[in-house]
Every structure is written in structure tokens, then in C-alpha cells.
């Protein structure tokens, strides 16, 4: 046990930096003394931001405050309150992936303490340690591990306290269920009682022993969503539900097309509406009103003319992304029975369509902004976007992310928060900003469209002999083939996108898997080999073989078939996850309607933290991925999205959802990888391959069947 003074706190740290994957360069938030005061009494587990030391480690740039080896920045990760409540702090955001639950399990496992005694404070830039953002399927592998170390450190400190309390040998004590137990005497004492009335600080130690996954008791089980009751009663407050006294509702005037600039403006009519105020700051024009509806009416009453410029049409897109025509498609059969195949695949822009649109409630007080907003990057909004928008230091902004109505990679930016903050500042009242669905489609960003050219050769022995894969615009993720191919060539080429684009669940892995797994299926077909057999001949990765075989068994691959239906499969490895997807489709010969009937998805992401929530993620990924696979597409022309409404942009509904079966390969011997994204990569190629199996028609553009299958002839 360490009685902490400010100087001893400092001495504890320097060797700890390399433990944490926190990026360098964050601004100072608290000075040491005020920080410890703020934390009050109880057991606190801290770590120091790795600014000075970590920069030396990584060689990275970034601002430095405080000298080398003199850290000034402490982060509290966990606190044990006198009543036994354990609070942990993480900068990650809950957007429906259920990390509030899985991270609670990680803490509960290592303390150990009951799930119900643990509270998570998430994604609040004033309260939680810096975090780069909730993306890349990193919450479980990085934050889960970090919080396990934090909780194990707390456990060790509590054991020290109890040993001193009873004057017994520390080795005779154990921790269980929120208590330290001395089994020899039958005594036990609660964590809260041990921590009460003291100010204790522990830092996270490299020697902390974590419980191996093979011995997990709380992690590894299907703990229900921790705050689920709040969501079925309507009690949970999303950012769009927040309210403050005196709050007004904002709306912003949007240009008619991308890049349009304001020519003339007439706000007289809007400004005369009761309770309405118009705010103008250069090209930024907005209104505030007493209700969301009145704000919409007021902004519609603004007269504005715009300077626009001609922009690309949708029909020019793929040629423009590639920068010209690609190589012609072709199949060549060689004398030795091998084949070479050249194909091009395309994918349309699609939208995230989070059901909760971008939303924010902003309030300024004494020159500091507090903003609640649905976002995956609260610290990025504070450090990059807010500082740039207002020219103020990061300390002047507090960004809080209530558990959010989904993101799917689409909520990395803070535009709604900035707009709410600008309006709030101008009218000196709290302002709520909730984007309309049309704004959400138009002024956020999209999953990149892409063109992929693939050239390959496969021998009569069923081995892929060469691989040349070029992705234009959609991205790098998942571009490497998981097959044993000699010297495969893959290249991502950047392009100028005519539409705003950005992250989307699984990034480009969905596009790259679609192209690769469609292509591999075609090779198998041309060689008259079963698609599973062909893949297995080319897979050396044992984890991928395992999921392919486990999925095939559950699906009944090779078993009896139903007339009018087709089967397809796909495999992939991305972000530490190994996936095999098997799909059965029904194609209605009369109407051409294509429906996914049944999907089996086998998945291995190492040790599974919460089997039920992992299955839920994978089921949801299949259903969401099915939309982009079969029918979702953004249509555009001349700088405008032409279908920015749910009535014109089809997303999967109940009637589109197949029967989904998830097969988990739980590898307790391996570290946990993330699982939010990789479940989405197999569904499009599996469906495309199944459609080809059913109809003989090979489709190479996503969406595959926006209008169903055209009847032959």
C-alpha cells in the first residue's frame, strides 16, 4: 500500500508508459494536485498519460507540455467508493455494440466483483482518460485488456489493505464477489469498507497477473446488456433526448448542392416568426426556435440564392474513380488445364443510416462549452474540430457521449455538435440540434464507392497460382487474400471522390471481400471444383480452415438441396476475426425477387467475452451487410444526393431478414480480438455466389439486385 503525496505519485510512473496504447500529444487536462483533490477518498487506480515517455518510445510528434520524464497528467481509470460501488472510466463510446456490458465484465472478472456493483463512465472528455475513438474493433482487444489490468491492480491493492487491516499474511487472502476473504478465520471484508475514508492511489503495474481466459467466471458468459431496462421503458436519454432549462432548437440552412456558395440571403420572413432568431456568420446561416418543428419552418422560410457549379454524374463514377478504362474482362483456358481470369467489380456509395441522426445539445457557461452528442470520437471532436471551429484551447470544451443510437463508423465527425455550439454561442442559450434524415443522408459522409480489378491464374490442381488485385477508392482494409498464393499483388489506389466519404463498419473489407470471394468462386466454378473444396485447397491458416469447416457442417454444405434455391459461401480474415459465411437464396422465377433465406456464419475472434452479445453482433452484421449487398445505393448527380429519404433508399426490413445461425469457435487459448466489423464482410460475396448458383448469372456490382433479377431474355 502506498500513501500518496504528489511527489510519490510522480515517482511511481516513469517505467509504466509502455503499458498503454494511448497516443501522444493530448493536452493537459488537470494538474496533479487539483486532480487528486477532485477524486476525493476511496481507492483510485490511475495511470499517467504517456506523453513524454511514449513519444520517445514511438518517435511520434505532437505537442509536449511538461519536461521529459516529468509527467503532469494523471488519468483515473477506476475508483472504489466507500459503499462498495466500483466506477471505471473509459473514453470508449457505447453505440449499440454492447461494450458497456463487455468492459464491465472485464472489470468484474479481475476484481472480482458482482456486475451489479460496477458502473461505467464512458466517453466524457472531462471525466474519462483520452481515447482515440471507438472504431477499428479495438474496444475489446485494447480497452478490455487495459481495464483488466486496471481492475487487477485494484484487486492487489485491496488485498494489501486487508492484510494490513487484519495483520495477516497477504498470501492467505483471496478476493471474491466484491470482498476480500480470509478463509482460515472465515472473515471477509467488503471492498468499499477497505477503501472507505482513505485517499489511496495505485498505478497500474506491469507485473499485474491477469486471470487467463481458460479460468474466466464472469467474462466469457452471456451477461445481459447492463442497462437494458432503460431502453425498453424509454428512460434512456440519447443525445437527441437531452434537455436543458431555457433550451432552444436549432436548424441550419443547407446549400442545394455540394460546394455551393451563398449568393444572396433574405431572412426577414424567418426572423419575424414568433420566438425565432436567425444567426449568420459568413456562409453559416442558422435559426433557433422554441421547438424543432418551428425551427424547421423558420429555416424553410429563409430566401437564399446560391452559386453552384456543374459536377459529375453517377454514370461517370467508376471510370472516374479508376482514372480511365480498365483492362477488359476475360477468361483464358490454358493447355495445361489452368485458367486465367480477369474481372472487374464495382460497389456503389452507401449510407450508414444510423436510426438516431446526428444530434447535439450545446451549452456555454463562463466561456466553456459542454456538448452532449452522439459520436464515436469525443476527444477528436474536442481536440481537432472544436478547437479549429472556435479558436479556443481544448480545455474550453467538454464533449459527452450518451449511449448513442448507433454509428457503424458514421459518427466520427462532430458537425452537429459544432453547429449546436455556434448557435448556442450566438444566442447565449442552450441549443439542441437534431439533423433531419435528409441532412443525415446528404451532409454526413458515405461508405466509399469503389472499382476493383482482379486478375488471377489457377492451375488444374485447384491451386491459385497468381493474384493481382487493384482497389480504386474504397480502401485498403481486408485487401490481402487469406490464401496461400505465391507473391500476391494487392494495391489500393486513391481517387478523388465526388461525394463525401469516410469510415463505415468494416471499412473497405466488405468491398475487398466481395471482389475476392466472388472471384475465387468463379475460379472454382471454371475449374469444376466445389467452392468449399477449392478454398480449402488454398487455405493454410488453421483458424480460417476451422471456421470454414465448422460453418459448412452447420449449414449442411453438400447436403440435400431445395429447387429454386442457390447456395454460396465466402471466407475472410480481418481485424483479428476469422469468418466463414454460408448463404442460401431463393430466386422467384416469375417476379425476379431475390431473398436471402438462410445464413450460417462461423466466427473465431479468440477468447469470447460475451457469447450472446457476440452472436447478436454477428447476426446484426449479416442483416446490415445484406442491405449493401442486395439493394442499398446512394444515387447522385450534379452535387446532389437524389434519394436522401428512407422512402427512396431501401434498408433491410423484417421481410428481408434471413434465418441466421451463428457458430462461435471460442478460442480461450488466444487473446480476444474485436468483433463489431468482420461479421459484415462475408455476406455480400456469399449472396452473390448463391445467386450465381441459383441462376448461372454472375453479378459483379454491389448492390447485386436493386430491382431483383431480370428474367433471362
Amino acid at each position: 500500500m502506498t500513501k500518496v503525496t504528489s511527489s510519490s505519485v510522480q515517482e511511481l510512473y516513469p517505467e509504466q508508459y509502455e503499458l498503454f496504447r494511448l497516443p501522444a500529444g493530448r493536452p493537459v487536462r488537470f494538474r496533479r494536485r487539483e486532480f487528486l483533490k477532485l477524486l476525493g477518498t476511496g481507492l483510485v487506480v490511475l495511470c499517467v498519460s504517456p506523453r513524454a515517455g511514449a513519444q520517445a518510445e514511438s518517435g511520434g510528434g505532437g505537442r509536449r507540455r511538461g519536461g521529459q520524464g516529468r509527467p503532469t497528467n494523471l488519468d483515473a481509470w477506476l475508483k472504489v467508493e466507500p459503499d462498495g460501488t466500483v466506477t471505471f472510466f473509459t473514453g470508449k463510446a457505447e453505440v449499440g455494440q454492447n461494450i458497456r456490458t463487455s468492459l464491465t465484465q472485464a472489470v468484474a472478472e479481475e476484481l472480482p466483483a458482482p456486475i451489479g456493483s460496477i458502473r461505467a463512465v464512458m466517453a466524457d472528455t472531462d471525466l474519462t482518460p483520452y481515447d482515440m475513438g471507438t472504431f477499428g474493433s479495438r474496444s475489446t482487444p485494447d480497452m478490455g485488456l487495459q481495464l483488466r489490468r486496471v481492475a487487477a491492480t485494484a484487486r492487489e491493492a485491496l488485498l494489501d489493505l486487508a492484510a494490513a487491516h487484519w495483520s495477516v499474511d497477504r498470501a492467505s487472502l483471496s478476493a471474491a464477489d466484491g470482498k476480500v476473504v480470509h478463509s482460515a478465520s472465515g472473515r471477509s471484508v467488503g471492498f468499499g469498507e477497505l477503501a472507505a475514508g482513505r485517499q489511496l492511489v495505485r498505478t497500474i503495474s506491469a507485473e499485474t497477473v491477469l486471470r487467463p481466459a481458460t479460468q474466466w467466471r464472469i467474462a466469457g458468459t452471456s451477461v445481459p446488456k447492463v442497462d437494458a431496462r432503460e431502453f425498453v421503458t424509454g428512460g434512456h436519454r440519447y443525445a437527441s433526448d437531452m434537455a436543458l432549462p431555457g433550451m432552444l432548437f436549432g436548424r441550419v440552412l443547407r446549400p442545394p448542392s455540394y460546394g455551393a456558395t451563398l449568393d444572396s440571403l433574405d431572412t426577414a420572413r424567418a426572423g419575424a416568426m414568433p420566438g425565432v432568431r436567425v444567426v449568420r456568420d459568413g456562409d453559416f446561416v442558422g435559426v433557433v426556435a422554441p421547438s424543432s418543428h418551428e425551427a424547421s419552418r423558420a429555416v424553410a422560410a429563409i430566401g437564399a440564392t446560391w452559386k453552384t457549379h456543374a459536377q459529375m454524374s453517377e454514370s461517370e463514377l467508376f471510370r472516374a474513380l479508376r482514372g480511365g478504362d480498365g483492362p477488359p474482362d476475360g477468361l483464358v483456358r490454358e493447355a495445361d488445364g489452368g485458367i486465367t481470369l480477369r474481372r472487374t467489380y464495382t460497389m456503389a456509395y452507401i449510407a450508414h443510416v444510423p436510426l438516431e441522426p446526428r444530434a447535439a445539445v450545446a451549452a456555454w457557461k463562463d466561456g466553456k462549452l459542454t456538448v452532449w452528442t452522439g459520436s464515436q470520437r469525443p476527444f477528436g471532436i474536442r481536440d481537432e474540430e472544436m478547437t479549429a471551429a472556435f479558436g479556443l484551447a481544448p480545455e474550453r470544451f467538454r464533449v459527452i457521449v450518451p449511449d448513442t443510437g448507433s454509428g457503424y463508423g458514421g459518427k466520427h465527425t462532430g458537425l452537429a455538435a459544432i453547429e449546436a455550439a455556434r448557435l448556442s454561442r450566438a444566442v447565449d442559450r442552450p441549443v439542441k440540434m437534431v439533423w433531419s434524415r435528409e441532412e443525415e443522408f446528404t451532409w454526413a459522409y458515405l461508405r466509399p464507392a469503389g472499382v476493383i480489378d482482379v486478375a488471377s491464374r489457377a492451375g488444374a490442381d485447384g491451386r491459385i497460382a497468381s493474384w493481382d488485385f487493384h482497389n480504386y477508392n474504397s480502401g485498403n482494409a481486408g485487401i490481402e487474400p487469406p490464401y496461400a498464393i505465391p507473391g500476391p499483388k494487392t494495391q489500393f489506389h486513391r481517387s478523388d471522390s465526388p461525394l463525401p466519404q469516410g469510415s463505415y463498419r468494416s471499412l473497405a473489407a466488405a468491398a475487398n471481400h466481395f471482389a475476392r470471394e466472388s472471384h475465387v468462386d468463379e475460379l472454382a466454378g471454371e475449374l469444376k471444383l466445389d467452392p468449399l473444396e477449392f478454398r480449402l485447397r488454398n487455405i493454410e491458416n488453421p483458424r480460417l480452415r476451422d471456421v470454414a469447416e465448422a460453418g459448412a457442417r452447420a449449414f449442411g454444405w453438400g447436403g440435400p438441396r431445395t429447387a429454386g434455391r442457390g447456395r454460396g459461401m465466402a471466407v475472410g480474415v480481418d481485424k483479428g476475426g476469422h469468418v466463414a459465411t454460408f448463404a442460401e437464396v431463393a430466386v422467384d422465377a416469375e417476379s425476379g425477387r431475390v431473398g436471402a433465406v438462410r445464413v450460417v456464419q462461423a466466427f473465431d475472434c479468440g477468447a469470447v467475452v460475451n457469447p450472446d452479445h457476440l452472436k447478436l453482433q454477428l447476426e446484426g452484421a449479416v442483416v446490415q451487410g445484406l442491405g449493401g449487398a442486395l439493394f442499398e445505393a446512394i444515387h447522385f448527380g450534379n452535387g446532389q444526393i437524389v434519394n436522401p429519404h428512407l422512402s427512396a433508399y431501401r434498408v433491410p426490413r423484417f421481410s428481408d431478414a434471413p434465418q441466421v445461425e451463428i457458430v462461435l469457435v471460442d478460442r480461450r487459448d488466444l487473446p480476444s480480438a474485436g468483433a463489431g466489423e468482420t461479421g459484415l464482410v462475408g455476406i455480400a460475396p456469399a449472396l452473390g455466389n448463391a445467386i450465381c448458383d441459383a441462376t448461372g448469372v454472375r453479378l459483379r456490382s454491389m448492390p447485386l439486385v436493386p430491382d431483383g433479377m431480370r428474367r433471362p431474355g
Binding site: 436510426l355 438516431e356 422512402s647 421481410s655
Partner: protein
């Protein structure tokens, strides 16, 4: 449209002052602070704003508040009785039928009406009735399971 000065929500009469042509959703959320009902699309396509008026499900984003009159409105907050959740709310918990849960209020409000009309719906009947409610996280199979579980709990299911 005339000004609306009272609204009966979840058995409580709320005095207010709202233009009758404002959508019910805006009045519930902005004026009365009853925020369990969600805005999703504003065009009646997603079902997130579903509430009951005299037991009939309506899309509150498209319904002018002036059209309600003295009729009784029920929102998600009104389903719990004496601390007991409606069986469908409980079934959503038991099935884990949510991810981000932003659609959950509307899903439950639609599902409650389905079960009132049809105590033992088939899968096809559930899909047809619920097809106007969007879950972007793709939790449909679990929601379908929750409706069937609730049907059983309410004694409607034959099996």
C-alpha cells in the same frame, strides 16, 4: 389549425400551448419532455415514432397534434404498470432483442398492438405487421423471437 391546450398522455392530462399543425412527436418530445418516442425519419418510414392513440398505432412524426383532441395517447413510458413491465418489454429483455435500442420504443409499441389484435401470430404475420419498423442494427430475428415469447407469456400462443 387552432392551438392545442391539453393532451392526455399515459393517463395524465398535460396542459400546453402548441399550434395544432405541429407533429405530435415534436410536442411530446420538445414541449412535454416525453422523449421515449424517437425521431427517425420524419416520413413515416421507420416506425421509431410509433405511439398509440386509443390503442391504434400511429406515426407521431406525421400526425398533427391538433388531430388528437381528447383521445388517449400511450407512449412507451405508459406501458409499465405498477412497476411491472409489459410482457413484451420483458420479452425484449429476455431475448436480448436490442443493440443501440433506438428503434426499441417503436418496435415495442407496434408489437403490443400486434399482440392485442392477434394473440398468437405466426412468423409471417409478425413480419408483415412489423415491416414498417426499421432496426438498422439488424436485430430483427431477436425481435421476432421476443414477440413470440411475449405471446406465450400472455397466454395467447397455442404452442
Amino acid at each position: 389549425m387552432p392551438v392545442v391546450s391539453e393532451l392526455n398522455v399515459n393517463g395524465v392530462r398535460h396542459p400546453l400551448h402548441a399550434d395544432g399543425d405541429r407533429p405530435l412527436l415534436s410536442v411530446l418530445r420538445d414541449d412535454l419532455g416525453i422523449t421515449g418516442t424517437k425521431f427517425g425519419c420524419g416520413e413515416g418510414q421507420c416506425g421509431a415514432c410509433t405511439v398509440h392513440v386509443e390503442g391504434v398505432p400511429i406515426r407521431s412524426c406525421l400526425t398533427p397534434v391538433g388531430a388528437i383532441g381528447p383521445q388517449r395517447i400511450t407512449t412507451i413510458e405508459g406501458l409499465e404498470k405498477d412497476g411491472r413491465l409489459h410482457p413484451l418489454q420483458q420479452a425484449f429483455l429476455d431475448e436480448g432483442a436490442m443493440q443501440c435500442a433506438y428503434c426499441t420504443s417503436g418496435m415495442i409499441m407496434s408489437g403490443v398492438v400486434l399482440l392485442a389484435k392477434n394473440p398468437d401470430p405466426t412468423d409471417e404475420e409478425i413480419v408483415r405487421f412489423m415491416d414498417g419498423n426499421i432496426c438498422r442494427c439488424g436485430v430483427y430475428p431477436r425481435i421476432l423471437g421476443a414477440i413470440k415469447r411475449a405471446a406465450k407469456a400472455m397466454g395467447g400462443a397455442r404452442t
